[in-house]
């Protein structure tokens, strides 16, 4: 019985290699094959390795060390991932895997993804001897400039790997190393079925590709570089250039030449130049960068004249720009896109950063800076009743293409006063979006959020953004059943968002695969006609759009290309606030360099549409609707002869799911959102005098758990008339008796009070936007309120303003991402006030574990009678102190109000003995927030 950390340093590995406890020994096996370039050599090497592994287990060894250290000029290394997975599955088949641990001593392991793959394919532990030696060597030769010695640097490196792994596990929804080991949550691209079935058994691989001999060929190419016999060995490492374009490095579709052509053509209204640009991008015969580069059109009907194709004006509405937040890109860049899309009749997207209300007013020349699509992401920045009401489409970002499963990060220096205000956050304090939506852990949760948003704006389409990966089609089917109006399949490639390099490179798949799977699965499930399918991810030309349409998308998103038209030159420095062309920066000086113009963006979409229409004419489609999902008009290019991808098999991608009679291939019917039965229609009738004439209104209603999302329609109606301001406090006062369903008071706005006698379920006060919520137990109940639970999990998630008084305990994840509401509650579960950026939380009872994790703003007060709060609090970002004079007044006011509204016994007790009881309160003060407040104060003093 052994448990080790997954990364071993060299000394630790040697200890294990020579272990002998009397019952426990280790065997080292060499991973090599003959570097003779002959067919079957790699296979022979693998067979031998597996045979030896079985022998080792049968001979009684408990640990197998797989090593690639002993390679030489005639023997090349079997990649450790292949070796490890192969041995792992071979032992499973023999029923022996449970008897032995596998340790990988790998020279080819250096980035987080490598480790994750090895563990996912069964490795118990890994020793990255080459990476560690490299660090030591670079330090010795002064290539690493650091005050640390090489031991410390190696330690740091291992720490970074461990942290990176932890992130990978958690984004896959797995909480322990032990469960991740062997979980093989991967998709393989470009390896043939034979290799996958034998060595990576059970993993999805959908386009076939290389066999062992081709893999060997690739290994030998590198092996030659190191052990070349004839020519003089190469004297430097290859350049790389994966992350950023380099002259001698990897080929990028957006390179200085294509960027120049695109910018020039749209600026000068020069369609021929644009055609040159798209020819360069489309023609990938020599450089296959994308899956779609491997396709060719194969008309299934006679060509028609371009005049017979529906006009461009009918197509523009199908375009959206990508979700990039104001914050990650500059005000100028963001509004230029919005103006252009509004002129065209397409849609721009807020991204996850909220939207300045000033953009809802038209400009004097008739232009509008309002983004039609409002994004609702995990952080819920600025998601208020007004924000939701000002949308034509609400997009739930389940994942971001470039970093599926990870939240965005906005560095503190990008959060200026303006961004801070729009996001309801403190300027200067960095913002982290929580990786998941705390109100979505399951498909029925998503269904509830869709219902909430539909209540908050009945006219808006609800769009769910998914990232392309194996199984996305199945998720899309679930999302359609959860009543989304639009499902967006985003490719892996894109985004100004900052994220760890390993996620940029290794997470997510091209949209071609995800889109094809989605369309096929929806047709198979007879669901396709209920939902609009949208695709995005590095679409650059009319050809890209045409291929997306044939694979099943009737709408498309374009992000990076639009940014380039605005002036972006792909410096890939978006996360550093140093963008030299004023696109992805908040620096006022750099923003002056912004040269973008809505006209250029409009022109780009005109060009791309024109090109699309040319293809439509050639293929014989009059309308986009006719063209959606007609994948038989695509074929695999026949001039693919490179050894590496000649074995690719795209037939599954190009498979046309036969649609049963009457099953549409594009969206033709509206979803039934089941809105007719909601309680709010009664509420709305009662609220009429308040909304029409600002008269005070009071009414009572029974409520039960099937009454969900209460008060949200009423609030939407108030917002439509009174905008962000809402109604005067307590204009509408509704009393309820019973058990409220999920999302009681969600997105409720100013002027509304909901008073509940009974209890409530999850998402109480979600996105609270100014309303007052009061809840206390049934007056006939005999239990003690403060000892019992009264509201469910994830209460007040993403609340932006308003107040809530809760007599009793709440569940887990209370007030997560609160950015402005004040709440009083008598006890909460784990993860309270996580990622909070504003507002006040008063907890008159116990908290669970991990309180205040990631909290960067706002204040919490905890009544810590048991005197153990310090252990339960996550103190990484907060300081614990005693309340000061100012706090005292605030606390007293809130607790008094809590008593007045709910009759709380705890409040009564505290108030009766306030001076003494005050000593029991702990103030939770985020460190960055404290600093920012002090800065503001000193600024005030100076200006005075």
């Amino acid at each position: 019985m052994v448990r080790w950390d997954p990364i071993l340093n060299n000394h630790e590995l040697e200890k294990i290699r020579s272990i002998d406890t009397g019952v426990f020994q280790a065997k080292t096996l060499q991973c090599y094959f003959r570097a003779d370039g002959k067919e079957g050599s790699l296979k022979k090497g693998l067979d031998r390795l597996c045979r030896y592994a079985v022998d080792a287990v049968e001979d009684g060894f408990e640990v197998i060390v797989l090593t690639d250290r002993s390679i030489d000029s005639e023997h090349a290394a079997i990649p450790t991932l292949l070796a490890c997975a192969s041995v792992h599955h071979h032992l499973i088949r023999k029923g022996l895997r449970g008897k032995v641990g596998i340790i990988v001593e790998g020279g080819d392991v250096w980035e987080v993804h490598h480790y994750a793959c090895l563990i996912g394919f069964g490795a118990t532990a890994i020793n990255p001897y080459m990476a560690l030696s490299t660090i030591r060597d670079m330090k010795l030769h002064d290539k690493i400039k650091s005050e640390y010695d090489s031991e410390k640097l190696k330690k740091n490196y291992i720490k970074a790997v461990n942290e990176g792994l932890y992130k990978v596990f958690s984004k896959m929804g797995i909480s322990t190393l032990q469960s991740y080991q062997g979980a093989q949550i991967f998709e393989i691209i470009g390896i043939n079925k034979e290799v996958v079935n034998r060595h990576f058994t059970g993993v999805t691989s959908r386009i076939d590709g290389m066999g062992l001999d081709e893999i060997a060929k690739e290994i030998l190419a590198k092996h030659e570089l190191a052990f070349a016999k004839k020519s003089s060995p190469v004297d430097r490492l290859t350049e790389g250039g994966v992350y950023q374009w380099k002259r001698r490095g990897e080929f990028h579709l957006f390179n200085p030449q294509t960027i120049h052509l695109l910018q020039h053509s749209t600026k000068m209204n020069d369609y021929p130049s644009f055609k040159k640009y798209s020819k360069l991008v489309n023609d990938q015969t020599q450089k296959a960068c994308t899956l779609r580069g491997l396709f060719d059109f194969k008309p299934t009907r006679p060509s028609i004249s371009i005049d017979e194709v529906e006009p461009a004006s009918a197509i523009y509405k199908r375009f959206a720009t990508g979700a990039m937040s104001f914050g990650s890109i500059s005000w100028e860049a963001h509004t230029t896109l919005a103006i252009a899309m509004n002129r065209l009749g397409g849609k721009s997207n807020t991204g996850e950063g909220g939207e300045d209300e000033i953009r809802y007013q038209k400009l004097p020349n008739g232009d509008s800076m309002r983004s039609s699509i409002k994004q609702v992401a995990s952080a819920r920045f600025g998601v208020t009743s007004y924000y939701l009401a000002e949308a034509d489409e609400l997009q739930i970002k389940m994942a971001q293409g470039a970093k599926p499963g990870e939240g965005g990060q906005l560095p503190g220096d990008k959060v200026d006063d303006w961004i801070g205000k729009t996001r309801h956050a403190t300027p200067g304090v960095g913002l982290i979006s929580p990786p998941p939506h705390h109100d979505i852990y399951s498909i029925e949760d998503l269904s509830q959020l869709i219902f909430d948003l539909k209540n908050a704006n009945r006219a808006a389409r609800i769009n769910v953004k998914l990232v392309s990966k194996a199984g996305v089609g199945t998720i899309a089917a679930g999302v359609t059943k959860a009543k989304a109006d639009v499902v967006l399949i985003a490719g892996f490639d894109g985004g100004t968002g900052a994220s760890p390099l390993s996620s940029i490179k290794h997470a997510g798949l091209p949209w071609e695969l995800g889109l094809a799977e989605t369309h096929q699965t929806l047709v198979k499930n007879k669901l396709r006609s209920r939902v609009v399918v949208q695709a995005d991810g590095q679409m650059k030309t009319g050809r890209d759009i045409a291929i997306a349409t044939l694979l099943g998308a009737e709408e498309w998103g374009v992000a990076t290309a639009a940014l380039i038209v605005e002036g972006c030159i792909m410096m890939r420095k978006c996360h550093m606030n140093t963008c030299p062309v004023g696109v992805a920066t908040q620096d006022p000086e750099l923003r002056k360099h912004f040269k973008g113009d809505p006209d250029h963006v409009v022109r780009f979409f005109e060009f791309i549409t024109e090109e699309l229409r040319e293809i439509m004419a050639e293929l014989g489609y009059r309308t986009i609707n006719e063209m959606v999902g007609q994948v038989d008009a695509l074929t695999m290019r026949d001039n693919i002869n490179h050894w590496k991808y000649k074995n690719l098999d795209l037939s599954d991608v190009l498979y046309k799911e036969p649609a049963e009679a009457g099953v549409g291939l594009y969206q033709t019917e509206a979803q039934d959102h089941l809105m007719s039965e909601v309680l709010d229609w009664q509420l709305l009738a009662a609220a009429k005098p308040a909304i029409d004439k600002k008269e005070k209104v009071k009414a009572s209603f029974p409520i039960k758990n099937t009454d969900r999302t209460t008060g949200t329609i009423v609030s939407n109606e108030i917002t439509k008339v009174y905008k962000a301001e809402g109604l005067p406090e307590d204009t509408i006062h509704f009393n309820f008796k019973g058990t409220a369903g999920q999302s009681f008071g969600a997105f409720n706005t100013k002027g509304v009070t909901l008073e509940l006698e009974g209890d409530a379920n999850d998402y109480f006060g979600k996105g609270l936007s100014g309303a007052q919520l009061i809840v206390y137990p049934d007056k006939k109940a005999s239990f003690i309120p403060e000892e019992n639970i009264i509201i469910g999990n994830v209460a007040l998630y993403g609340a932006t303003s308003g107040i809530a008084y809760i007599r009793g305990k709440a569940g887990e994840r209370f007030a997560v991402r609160n950015s402005g509401a004040s709440v009083v509650v008598e006890g909460i579960g784990d993860h309270g006030c996580e990622y909070m950026t504003g507002g006040v939380a008063v907890i008159l009872g116990k908290t669970g574990r991990n309180f205040a994790a990631g909290m960067s703003g706002g204040i919490a007060f905890v009544y810590d009678v048991a005197n153990n709060f310090e252990v339960l609090c996550n103190k990484e970002m907060v300081e614990l102190e005693a309340p000061d004079k100012e706090d005292e007044a605030l606390l007293k006011k809130l607790i008094q109000a809590h008593f007045d509204k709910t009759g709380s016994a705890v409040a009564k007790f505290i108030l009766a003995d306030f001076e003494n009881q005050l000593k029991q309160f702990v103030k939770v003060f985020p460190s960055d927030y404290k600093k920012a407040l002090q800065k503001q104060k000193s600024k005030l003093v100076v200006t005075k």
Partner: protein, 512 residues
Amino acid sequence: MTKKEQLGLYDPAYEHDACGIGFVANIKGVKSHQNVIDGLTILENMEHRGACGCEINTGDGAGIMIQIPHEFFFDELLQQGIHLPDLNEYGVGFIFFPSDTSMVTACKEIFARAAEKLGIEIIGYRKVPVNRDTIGPSALSVEPRMEQVFLKKPDHISDPEDFERKLFVLKNYASHTINNSIKKEAIGFYMASLSQRVLVYKGQLTSHQVREYFPDLSDKRVVSAFGLVHSRFATNTFPSWKLAQPFRYIAHNGEINTLQGNLNWLRSNESSFFSPYFSKEELEMILPVVTAGQSDSACLDNMIELLTLSGRSLPHVMMMLIPEAWDGNELMDPVKKAFYEFHAAFMEPWDGPASISFTNGKIIGATLDRNGLRPSRYCVTNDDRVIMASETGVLPLDPSTIIEKGRLQPGKMFVVDMEAGKIISDTDLKQNICAQQPYADWLNKYKIRLEELPEPRIQFTHLEHDQIFKYQKAFGYTKEDLENIITPMATDGKEPIGSMGSYFKQPRIREN
């Protein structure tokens, strides 16, 4: 899955489901018809947590588990001229047969031989009456024929647990044999339950259809001390009656993100199973424990069934499969920690958001994943009832009768022992389980600590610059890897951050 369904990129392995779950139970184990009615009411009040397919009247699946209603079955079988023995002297199986009558006969023949092989006598079959009036066409197109089979406990078996184990062997063996031998593909023979204590009524139904579809459930003689219900939300619209829940031991809300790995580990160990409770031959009859084409929840149920029937209590099994966050938890009692650490050595968690209600007919309870990602609310009334569900308020109650309202906390468990007539708290329950064996002693004896290992026989020898350079080339390090990946990790202890995405996620498709 048939061939047709696997064309293209769709793969049924990616199906997920989610739902609402709940139960009502009498703490003292008093049986009543009201508990069945209340169970169904709970189900109906969670309709919004389930889903319907491409038709409004085809649900994703719903069902209820109850205790065996002896009086009802006795009367019903008497009408067929069959005399049932006393309760606890027989087991009941709820079988989904293929709708083709000729195949039913074939199934029954094989089932009879399997029972005979295990020395179990078949008392008789009962056709389950159903009311199809409101069922959608998709669901009806694959509706199974439903029958209950009654099996006599062999005289030589005195321990009821031994009989339960025999029934388990029979269920697995008969199901495997029938699905493998009548036609080339599985014909859809399925046993929703087979037990001397519990019975599952379920199908491709909406929450509201369960009551109508099974008239049995409205018969006053159908009594039970509990009703455990489940309403399903699947990510497809392919009707599958057997994927409805509850399963034989659990109703599951959530998903298992580690399923592939869990099944791999299970498979790699299957051949070395041994148990004092099963003969070698019986163990072979059980395998494979998990069959293909099931949902993650069904696989978990199979695992629980195996572990609990091989001698562990149901709560003990739940602690093994869905452990609390114990590693690095300084607040946890060391005795409990030792239990978790000991079990971690041979059982990896089935990890993911999960709320699970479970029962073996004698105890009923619920547990929650370590992060508390699914809701579980309960209340206790002064007339000895516990109501536990994904939502509060699913069963209308007089507020003055409620003595406690709570929620399951992350990693915690809640058990009602209906035989002892009491609620057992998480603390008491786990203290009891963890004290059953000297787990901490075993750990100390067998655990190997890396830092305590003796110095190695051979020390690691550092590579020299030329060697390193050579190896770097052989393994494909680039300048970028050295400068932009490894260097920042070594200096900052963090992964580097970048932006603007990448086109390079298809190394197999790009040229060198």
